[in-house]
Structure formats: structure tokens, C-alpha cells
Amino acid sequence: MNKTWLAGVAGLALLSACTSANDRPETASSTPRASAEPASPVYESTYRAFPGVLTAITGATVLDGEGKRIDNGTVILADGKVQAIGGADTPIPAGATRYDAAGKWVTPGIIDAHSHLGDYASPGVDAHSDGNEVTGPVRPEVWAEHSVWPQDPGFTRALTNGGVTALQILPGSANLFGGRSVTLKNVPARTVQGMKFPGAPHGLKMACGENPKRVYGSRNQMPQTRMGNMAVNRQTWLKAQDYKRKVAKDPNTARDLAMETLVDVLDGKILVHNHCYRADEMAFVLDMAKEFGYKVTAFHHAVEAYKIADKLRDAGACSAMWADWWGFKMEAYDAINENIPLVHNAGACAIVHSDDANGIQRLNQEAAKAMGDGKRIGIDIAPEIAWTWLSYNPAKALGIADQTGSLKPGKMADVVLWNGDPFSVYTRPERVWIDGALMYDANDPKRRPVTDFELGQPGEGDVK
């Protein structure tokens, strides 16, 4: 049934592409657009890796981020990439700066799939409230990156305390369609483009449940109910399908920024990140995705994912979760501490996310709590497996797993050297490399970033 239906959609897409190609008069003035993409890429990443040196970390317990553990391991970083990973017998290139990491651990940098840093920056004054375009429930035209304040001290805390090397900034959850997300490398920059993860696809933030219906319902505006949420969602997808057909037929169709985002979702170029707590609502969203031919990359918050872990596995949707946030609103009432291990155990994709400027500093600790709660119900998850929740799985959900998220030769050297077992509360990052450049060193006050905002303020340059 599904297969036939999907084949039908593919056929239609092919047909419309052919039609438009044949019908389109080729003139100098017309700018042909295959889809709803802007005529030329804009707001492109200007991020460039900072210089690093040939680096050898030896003697560490190494977790590769994809499920492999090496005791007394060696990791070699060169030219911004992971050059080699292996046991004690791994050859150390001549001239390498060596770190003896006996008793310490090495992991890929942590990737937070859900952050609002920069969009809700510190200090949290109204002037910094840039995360929700609460002027209509459907705002796919807004881009989170246009709100990000790169000076937010939250970024540097996430780096130095959390070992976070990349993160997705999402618009908030007031809207059904909240806008485009952006993935950043956690490297301080003067501009947001200077932080943008090169080539990372945009995400689309969607939200289920209480937030949209509360925000607009309180204004006596649709949606006021969960059925209203679904109705506005479906009507919007119908509009997107119409727009897609129109553009295919007539490339000179007036641009519509909102529809461009949605068409890119339908074309698989933008990944859907859907804030959704309850199992019943996630099931509706999966049905809606089938109805309109898109894929849900990840449900975020997903506190009831454990109730439908089998369905999420079958749908290939990730769940980005907290370890133990509970009960703060009705749709979080059924949260349990074993959510992450139960989702993982069912064979579904589990991600530990923060959605919080403080939580992002301790995502490894959130994973550790989940491991402990899993173990007590007989789901004993090894550290090398649990680390996939923190780097590889989020990298997959952000569409950057071919470049980062694990310590595979050729991938970006986004690496954390921890001063102990990173699943222990007594451990902190000692050094963090991003693209092979040493961006944090606990032993060197000069390798500790201080944002513009913090200059001249109480505690400037403090360990924090």
C-alpha cells in the first residue's frame, strides 16, 4: 500500500519535472529554477577551520561515536581531520604534538540537536527574545540564523563545560511551522555565517500540541485545539503542494519564502524536526508525513517515545530526548527516566538533546543518568554505544554524519579529551578540538573564549 503510493508520488514528480523542462522557453531574462530554491545561494557559510597542528592523543579510552571502544587508544589529528584511530600500536607521525591521556577519555565532540542559543541569548532580556515569530502559526519563511546573536555566552559555556562542537539552533515552538533551523559549528565568530556548518542542510521546526494551540487559542485564533493544529498543518501542506506544482509549471511564479521552505521539505532538501511530546500526536504526525510525502527526521522532546518505540523504529524517525525532565506541563506528565534506554533498546534512533542553555553544558551527564536507569531495568548499555546518542545519531539527524559525529579517518577532527570517564559526574572536558584546532584547553587561560559581551564585566575571563 505504502509502496504503491510512494511510487505514485515519485512518478508525478518526474512527470512534472519533464513537463516544465520541455515547456520552459529558454531566454536570457528568465532565471530557471528547478525547485523553489533561491536564484543563488545566500547567507552562505563563511566558516573556515582555524589552524591546528599535527596532534597525537595516546593512552586514552577512546569511544569512536559509532559504537566502538578502544582501550589504551591513539587518535591522530592532521590538517583538521581525524587521520587515524587505533590501539597503542598506531604509528605516531614525526613532529606530532603529543598528549599523554592515560586515565582520560577521548570522544567525538557532542552535537546538540536542539538548542536556542543565540535566539534566546544570555542575558535573557526581552531585547534578546528572538526565538519565536509569534505573529502567525505558520511561519516557515523565517530562518533561525537571522536571529542568532553569535556573542551569546551560552556558546562558550557549551564548549568549555559541555564539549559541544556542533549544534542545531531551532526557532521556538509557539508555531506549528516555526521556520528554518541552522546548524553551527561551536566556534566563536563575528557573524553567524562565520559559525554556519558548511553544507549542513536546513531543518524545519514544527511543533505539536500545547504550545501552538495555547498561543493562538488565547488570541481566539486558529489553532485553538489539537484538531485545529492538524487542520492548519494539513491545509498548509496542501498549499505547499500547489506551489510546487505551480513553480514546476511556471518558473516565473512569484517567490513565496514560506512555500519555498515547505517545497524543499517535500523535496527532501530540508529535514523536519518536530517538537512533539505525546505518543498519540507523534503517530498523527507520521500519518501526516505519509499523506503529504515527507519524512520526519526527528521528534524533539518525545517524552512518550517509549510508548511507541516500535512505530518510531519502523518509521525511521529519531527521538531527541531529555533524560529526566518531567511533569512541567500536561504533555510532559507521562515522562519517565527510562525513555532513552527504552527507545534505544527497541532499535529506534535515540538522541540526547538539551533545549536549554544550562543542559547543553551537561549532555554527557544526561546520557549517564539514562544509562543508569536503563541498567536498573536490565538494559545495560555500554559507554561506546551510549555515545552514539551524543554525536553520531544527532549528526545523522542534522544531515552531517558524513562529515562529523564520529572519529573516522577523514572526518572533521571535532574531538573532546575528557579528564576522566565522561559518564561520571566528576569529569569535565580538558581539551576540545574543532576541525583540528584547539578551541579549549582547561590548562591554558588563553584557550578559553570570552565573548564581547563579557569583556569588562564582573568575572571576565573567569573559569565560569
Binding site: P123, P153, G327, K329, M330, A335, I336, G372, P458, K464
Partner: protein, 431 residues
């Protein structure tokens, strides 16, 4: 009715083991007293009538004592959550189920959370299962700088959670207070001074105090509630973050010398730690605040706790707006700072004290609870690992010497969904 209750009580006593009146010995434990000292192996905790008799090494166990073998595991006092709304809230985001703030009330200082505390809220059982046995419960301020009177509660599985009502008065004197007082800190301090003076007026002649039917600003009951505060019989917990605000609060005692101050928050406390220490004012502070989340917290750092402690301040962990279940995680993180160059960490023993005896001492009740020293309430936890570690949890818990269940609606949901799919009947039939 009375007879029924007696019968019920008797039935409970039979099923609950051990009961409060018994002598109980927890033997063969790695016992940490909670007073800052290091744990001792093969220790014993002896309990009689719901109180600690003795704890540590070389404790003689009476022949009639009920023995609980800790099998070498960690044994500590129950954790004390430093600043919570436990018992006031079932679901925070549902107004009907949230009694932590009274935004529309004409009253302020007179508000007393004790009658609002519900021992049956899910949060109590859930927090208990994470090792917390007692908590400081504070109201949030509504439309006045005075939030009202907080209580001390226990997490026991019974109908009565409050063991010390009206334990302190809570006032906002920082940014939040400025908003409530009309827009500035300057106005906040005038409002506060006026309130203290009116409380004195009330104390001198209650029948002459008109409240708002005269030219007074405080309602009669609010003025009455502030009498023990201005007279120093009830601690005044003051929420401030900024260093300059802290100094202003310490200065209040020049005019109102009896004030028994407790600083709450105090993110920038480390900048004036010597002055806080000299004033002898205790501090309840979150462990992990390190972002300039507000202009009053520009100097926030995770080293605040360690630096206050090093300066000689009596300090304990209290999480404003934090989750009480994370109490031990907060403490453990302060231990981690010992290994970070330039940071001020604390020892493991000090960290355990930060979430056991220290909050009790800040409240002036260190003789009553919060440690395993003789005479304290017998709140004891046996853990399946290092109590401050992330993957550890209680296996056995006693509150007032009575063994407690560790199940709650979360564990029941978990058990129902150990496998997500449905079997012969819908999930609603699985219990």
C-alpha cells in the same frame, strides 16, 4: 472515626517495616555521615524511635534491633532539596494544579504554604525515589515583594508532609523585587523598610493597626506575619543575585538589627564573600549557575559555592527553579571542579554535606535533620552506587526511621511499557 483511624494506623504499623518505634540497625555499609567527613567502610547506623542513635564505625548493635544488611553499599543521610515547590504543584503548567504562586491575591507576607502542601503529589514520590527525603518549600512572589511563609517538608509516604510550617518568610529584593515594587530597586528598599516599620506598629498595638483601611500599606495579616521577621524569631530568606544587592541586604541589619537573614541565589556572592562571612549570614545557592542569565548575574560562576565556602560562609545548595531530583548531580558537579584549573571545587564530603546537613543548618535546624549524627531524624538511604554519581539510585530508604516505597507513577508507566507493543489486551489492562 477516631477508632477507624487508630485501626488504620495499627494496620500500617504492621505492614510498614521497620516502624518508627523500633530499633533498627543498618549494618555493613559504607557510611557517610553528611557532615563533611569522609565515608567509613563497614559502618553501622543505629536508629531508635525514628531518630539516629549513632552512626559510623564501632557501633554496637543491640540484640533486639532489626538488622538491615547494606552489603557494603553506600549509606548516607537522605538528601535535602534546598529550594523547591514540592507539594505545591502537580503540573506546573496547569494553573489549577499549581499553588506555588498567588498572583491575584491581595495578601503577601501572610501567605503560608503549609495548608497548600499536598503529600500525595506525584512529585513527592518521584523525588523520593531519587534519594531526597526532605525539602525546603518556598512560595514564589506574586504581585508583591513578599512571597509569604515557606515550610519544611518530608517525602514520607503518608498524609502529612509538612514537619515545620512557617519556617521562614521569603522576600524578593533584586531585579524581580524591583519590578514588583514599582520599577526600581530604590523603591524596593523603601517598600521593605515601610513593611518592617508597619510590622513594628502592629506589634506595639495590634488593635490600633488599621491595615489598608487606614494609611498603612500592609494588610493586617501581612503586618502580623512580618512581626516575627522584624523581631528575628523567623528567618527572612532574601532573593538577591548581584553583589551590590547583597551588600544592601547585609546593611538592612543596621536599621533592623534583629533580622535573621538567609541569602537565596547570590550568584555574585563570591565577589563579596568576605563580607557575607563577616556578617554571619548563611547562603542557599544553586550549584551550577554560570551564565549571565540576567544583568543581576553577570558574575555568575560555578565556583561561587566553593569560593563562598573557602571564605567561611555557611552555604548550602538550593536550586531556584531547578529540579529537586537533580540535587545529587549538582553536588557531584562541584566535586568535578576540583580538577579544573582556576575553579573552586569542594571535596566529596563537603558536596554530600551541601545537600544534606548544610541546608538544614542554613535553616537553623541542623540539630534536627540532615545528617546521621546522633539525635537527628532517621532519614537514611542505601544506594546502589556512589550517591553523588549520575547512575546511582536508592535501593532502600527510611524517613523518620520508617521504610519508604520507591515506586511511583513513573515506575508504573515504565513497567507497563517495558515492551511498547500490545499483547492480548490493550495496555490499559497491564498493571
Amino acid at each position: 472515626m477516631k477508632r477507624l483511624l487508630t485501626l488504620l494506623a495499627a494496620a500500617t504499623a504492621l505492614t510498614a517495616a521497620p516502624a518508627a518505634a523500633q530499633t533498627v540497625a543498618i549494618v555493613n555499609g559504607k557510611v557517610a555521615i553528611g557532615d563533611g567527613s569522609a565515608p567509613v567502610d563497614n559502618g553501622t547506623v543505629l536508629i531508635r524511635n525514628g531518630r539516629i542513635v549513632s552512626a559510623g564505625a564501632g557501633v554496637t548493635v543491640p540484640a533486639d534491633a532489626q538488622r538491615i544488611d547494606a552489603q557494603g553499599r553506600w549509606v548516607t543521610p537522605g538528601l535535602v532539596a534546598g529550594w523547591t515547590n514540592l507539594g505545591l504543584t502537580e503540573v506546573e503548567g496547569v494553573g489549577d494544579a499549581n499553588d506555588s504562586v498567588a498572583n491575584q491575591s491581595p495578601f503577601s507576607a501572610a501567605i503560608d504554604v503549609a495548608p497548600a502542601v499536598n503529600a500525595a503529589v506525584s512529585a513527592l514520590a518521584i523525588t523520593r525515589s531519587r534519594g531526597v527525603t526532605r525539602a525546603i518549600v518556598a512560595p514564589d512572589a506574586g504581585n508583591d515583594i513578599f512571597a509569604g511563609q515557606g515550610a519544611l517538608v518530608d517525602m514520607g509516604n503518608d498524609v502529612d508532609a509538612v514537619f515545620k510550617p512557617r519556617a521562614f518568610q521569603f522576600v524578593e529584593l533584586g531585579e524581580a523585587g524591583a519590578r514588583k515594587a514599582g520599577g526600581s530597586r530604590a523603591a524596593t528598599f523603601v517598600f521593605f523598610r515601610n513593611a518592617m516599620l508597619e510590622a513594628r506598629d502592629y506589634a506595639r498595638n495590634p488593635s490600633a493597626y488599621g491595615g489598608r483601611d487606614s494609611d498603612a500599606l500592609l494588610m493586617r495579616l501581612d503586618a502580623a506575619a512580618l512581626v516575627p521577621v522584624v523581631e528575628g524569631r523567623m528567618p527572612l530568606a532574601v532573593h538577591v543575585e548581584r553583589a551590590s544587592d547583597i551588600l544592601q541586604v547585609l546593611d538592612l541589619r543596621k536599621e533592623f538589627p534583629s533580622l535573621k537573614l538567609i541569602l537565596v541565589g547570590a550568584s555574585e556572592g563570591w565577589l563579596v564573600a568576605d563580607k557575607i562571612a563577616a556578617a554571619g549570614v548563611p547562603v542557599l545557592t544553586p550549584a551550577l549557575t554560570d551564565l549571565p542569565y540576567a544583568f543581576e548575574a553577570l558574575g555568575a560562576t560555578q565556583s561561587n559555592y566553593g569560593r563562598l565556602k573557602a571564605a567561611g560562609v555557611k552555604v548550602a545548595i538550593g536550586e531556584l527553579g531547578g529540579q529537586p531530583r537533580n540535587t545529587k548531580q549538582s553536588a557531584g558537579n562541584l566535586v568535578a571542579l576540583q580538577k579544573v584549573p582556576g575553579a573552586a571545587g569542594i571535596s566529596w564530603g563537603e558536596a554530600l554535606a551541601a545537600v544534606t546537613s548544610a541546608p538544614a543548618e542554613v535553616m537553623g535546624l541542623g540539630n534536627d535533620f540532615g545528617s546521621l549524627r546522633a539525635g537527628r531524624r532517621a532519614d537514611v538511604v542505601i544506594w546502589d552506587g556512589d550517591p553523588l554519581e549520575l547512575d546511582s539510585a536508592p535501593v532502600t530508604m527510611l524517613i523518620d526511621g520508617v521504610q519508604q516505597p520507591l515506586e511511583n507513577r513513573q515506575t508504573k508507566l515504565r513497567d507497563r511499557y517495558l515492551t511498547p507493543g500490545e499483547k492480548d489486551l490493550p495496555k490499559a489492562f497491564e498493571r
